[in-house]
């Protein structure tokens, strides 16, 4: 039976739960199809748009998969931390722990044919898009079977077959790229959207507003997602932006402020945004824009999130914020804990079972690391591969030209 009820996350153990007709997850698979309704912890705030409802439908499967995926992402990032300190990962390493809800919630709302593009904090988005732990770790360690063959590194994870366009080191440069991907989607008439993600630091880049203007002008199916973790490396948002309400900075473009530590809020917002970008849902614009004949438009989502680590491994993360702040967020808003509480209160699994899941995840991560450590470095000849595409293009010739073969139609 589908028992649908609202659960307010602020309420913790309530004796009433014992009387519920819900059975524990482990005892029956018929429960997997059950629809649960969860309420997001905070309401959405809209800018020139009516925000979606706070009630999100989910299933036990989804809840458990959220837990598992986020635990895996968390574990991967913490493992990457140790690997960096062991000097197996070099260069820049930007860790995503604390922000997992954004990656997982977004994936739940979209398909692999929608595209995601993000900046350099991309390990977990890559996992969410279907990347494997082994490929991630081998790429981080610069080995030959990494997702970019060891030639990209932490900031350049890509997965073309599932629509993940990277992985970009220069702040803000990925937003025009993302709008270009959306343009191609519109050109080919797929009914897909692109999520162009950026941070609060990149929100002050000019090219972002340029791309936003063009996207709004050309009706591109792009959603700009600002992952606001409140610090642009060492600079707090209030020191960098005159107006830190990033969801409002689109001006004529509607925006939505979302609690980025709540995977269900993220899921709801992304679903809403995808519908909006493809003009599927009915909506009302708050102001009267009589001259807009069409409602399909770009949307800005601001995800209010937080990163526990510093900006990168070279940044301790505590010179510009207090440890109390970090531990405060960890206690009150941690995304994994939130899902854990939800699962426990719906009695979908016991605490011991969840601990087991975490143990399994930890083991998987450790195995992936061990496998990655065994993988060899790229061959020296790889230095010159993939500079140009072969075919109707160039080989870097020496003084003697080689014959070139081509195919006629």
């Amino acid at each position: 039976m589908a028992a649908v009820r609202r659960l307010s996350l602020s309420s913790s153990a309530a004796p009433l739960r014992r009387l519920l007709i819900l059975r524990p997850f482990s005892s029956s698979s018929a429960d997997d199809q059950r629809v649960l309704t969860v309420e997001t912890s905070l309401p959405f705030i809209g800018h020139k748009i009516d925000p979606p409802s706070r009630s999100v439908d989910t299933t036990p499967n989804e809840l458990l998969s959220f837990f598992r995926d986020m635990s895996m992402m968390r574990r991967m990032e913490i493992a990457a931390d140790s690997l960096y300190k062991a000097k197996l990962i070099r260069g820049f390493c930007h860790l995503y722990d604390g922000q997992e809800a954004v990656a997982v919630g977004m994936e739940a709302a979209i398909t692999k044919r929608d595209a995601i593009i993000t900046a350099y904090r991309d390990h977990c988005i890559y996992l969410g898009r279907g990347g494997s732990l082994v490929e991630s770790f081998t790429e981080l360690m610069g080995r030959r079977s990494g997702c970019s063959r060891g030639k990209g590194g932490s900031m350049h994870f890509y997965k073309k077959d599932s629509g993940f366009y990277g992985g970009h080191g220069i702040v803000g440069a990925q937003v025009p790229l993302g709008c270009g991907v959306a343009f191609a989607q519109k050109y080919s008439k797929d009914e897909n959207v692109t999520f162009a993600m950026y941070g609060d630091g990149a929100a002050n880049q000019g090219q972002l507003f340029e791309a936003l203007n063009i996207s709004a002008l050309w009706d591109l199916p792009v959603i700009l997602v600002c992952e606001n973790n409140h610090y642009g490396m060492g600079t707090a948002e209030w020191r960098a932006a005159k107006s830190p309400a990033y969801y409002k900075r689109g001006d004529y473009v509607p925006g939505l402020k979302v609690d980025g530590m709540d995977a269900f809020a993220v899921k709801q917002a992304c679903k809403f945004a995808k519908d909006y970008a493809l003009k599927n849902g009915p909506l009302v614009l708050v102001q009267s824009y009589d001259f807009f004949e069409h409602y399909k438009m770009v949307l800005i989502l601001e995800m209010d999130t937080y990163r526990y680590h510093g900006h990168s491994m070279s940044d301790p993360g505590s010179t510009y914020r207090t440890r109390d702040e970090i531990s405060g967020v960890r206690q009150e808003r941690d995304p994994i804990e939130r899902i854990r509480k939800l699962i426990l209160s719906h009695e979908l699994a016991t605490a011991a079972e969840l601990k087991d899941i975490e143990k399994v995840v930890r083991k998987e991560v450790d195995e992936a690391i061990a496998q990655a450590k065994e993988t060899p470095m790229p061959d020296p000849s790889e230095l010159f591969t993939n500079v140009y595409v072969k075919g109707f293009g160039v080989e870097a010739f020496g003084a003697d030209r080689k014959e070139v073969k081509a195919f006629l139609p």
Binding site: K160, Y165, P176, L177, G180, F183, S188, G393, F397, P409
Partner: protein
């Protein structure tokens, strides 16, 4: 000469494409590769080619010349049909139009390319023919629309991005360097960027310093980028078509002063090889390497030189990155003296890199130091007389050759 042709059908067979060809309902143009028999064209470096094919060859065949063959002296030309006369900007437009007809993924982005017809009329009439989704008027936001072109190219579209003046693309330098040039490498080969970035550059008629920039010197170090410079209507059309068909990102440098050159070009479908240099005037005594507008100054100087009894060999290098060291090398081995005439500035220009490349590869064949005539290291002044002094003039070329051949 390696003139390799890869058609849309062959490209569609590659697995890098995301765009579904059926959606464009383009009919027979995008035939499924299963219906074709493979055929191989092997083109050797001196223009001989042998073809072995089973079936399905198109009726016409490819013109493989680097240089437009005049109809009177058409010894090398494989087809003696007379062509038609065009101005250079019309040749560029023809190239664009033919490629847009051939491949529905080709689109044009730039400022005023659509309804206005292009500030140099290169895209005139294309918006009416192909619509606003394929010929896109962008706002004045080079950084972002170049980035958008690159993002679209990542999915398989083939945008042609126009900088109204090449100098404006300095605003998009980050996108061109980091994303355009490097994404193929940093993604381990997953993404190709088949974009063409084109626009007029070079010193014009008193346009001022900011509108007279030569960006080839800034872009030449970007790995993964290919650069070509056109100089005649024939090679403008050929290079445009080749650039659009190439899977690599190509920057096509046009010149503001060359748009009204007139020439008779073939009616047939032809392309110019992107990596190949053009032999303008064969000679025995000294090799003059040049490109773009300076080719005409060199040819003017060549007339004077021939009257004075010299025999210069003039090569339009056309491919600025990578250099066609084969053609250049053969020439150096023959003449043993090199003069480079370029419009870039002396410091860090194409000439500087070319000099280094020749010294590295052909040192033993040189009888004299390589001379390089470049523009002065100054912002281009507005005054006409000063502007003339900034660039290389034919008289200086004559003097340089005389000095070289002493």
């Amino acid at each position: 000469m390696a003139a390799a042709l890869q058609t849309a059908a062959a490209l569609m067979a590659s697995s890098n494409l995301v765009v579904n060809s059926e959606r464009f309902r383009f009919g027979s143009l995008l035939r499924s590769p299963a219906g074709r028999k493979g055929s191989v064209l092997v083109v050797k470096s001196d223009g001989r080619h042998s073809v072995s094919f089973n079936a399905g060859l198109r009726a016409g065949h490819l013109i493989t010349n680097a240089v437009a063959a005049k109809s009177e002296a058409s010894a090398k030309s494989t087809d003696s049909k007379p062509g038609h006369e065009v101005l250079l900007f019309e040749a560029l437009r023809e190239g664009l139009e033919e490629e847009m007809d051939r491949d529905p993924r080709v689109c044009i982005m730039g400022e005023d390319v659509g309804h206005y017809g292009g500030s140099y009329k290169v895209t005139k009439g294309l918006a009416e023919k192909y619509g606003d989704l394929r010929v896109l008027d962008t706002p004045i936001a080079e950084n972002s629309f170049t980035g958008m072109g690159i993002g679209a190219a990542m999915t398989g579209l083939r945008p042609v991005v126009e900088g109204m003046n090449m100098g404006f693309l300095l605003l998009a330098f980050n996108q061109i360097s980091n994303n355009c040039g490097m994404l193929h490498y940093t993604s381990g080969g997953q993404f190709t960027i088949p974009i063409v970035i084109r626009g007029p550059g070079g010193v014009g008629r008193q346009l001022g310093a900011e509108h007279s920039q030569r960006l080839e010197s800034y872009f030449q170090s970007i790995p993964g980028l290919q650069m070509v410079a056109c100089s005649t209507p024939y090679n403008a059309k050929g290079l445009m078509k080749a650039a659009i068909r190439s899977e690599n990102p190509v920057v096509l440098f046009e010149h503001v002063l060359l748009y009204n050159l007139k020439e008779r070009i073939p009616d047939k479908d032809y392309i110019c090889c992107l990596e190949e240099a053009e032999m303008v005037r064969p000679g025995e005594q000294v090799t003059i390497l040049t490109y773009s507008r300076m080719r005409y100054h060199v040819m003017q100087a060549a007339k004077t030189l021939v009257n004075k009894g010299y025999d210069p060999e003039v090569i339009d290098i056309r491919s600025l990155k990578p250099f066609d060291l084969y053609t250049i090398g053969n020439s150096v081995k023959k003449t043993h003296r090199v003069l480079i005439v370029e419009e870039c500035m002396r410091t860090g220009g194409i000439g500087a890199s070319l000099r280094a490349a020749i010294i590295d590869n052909f040192w033993d064949y040189l009888d004299a130091p390589i001379m390089c005539l470049s523009s002065q290291d100054v912002p281009t002044p507005y005054a006409g007389s000063l502007e003339d002094w900034t660039v290389v003039q034919p008289a200086q070329i004559v003097a340089a050759v005389e000095q070289l051949c002493q």
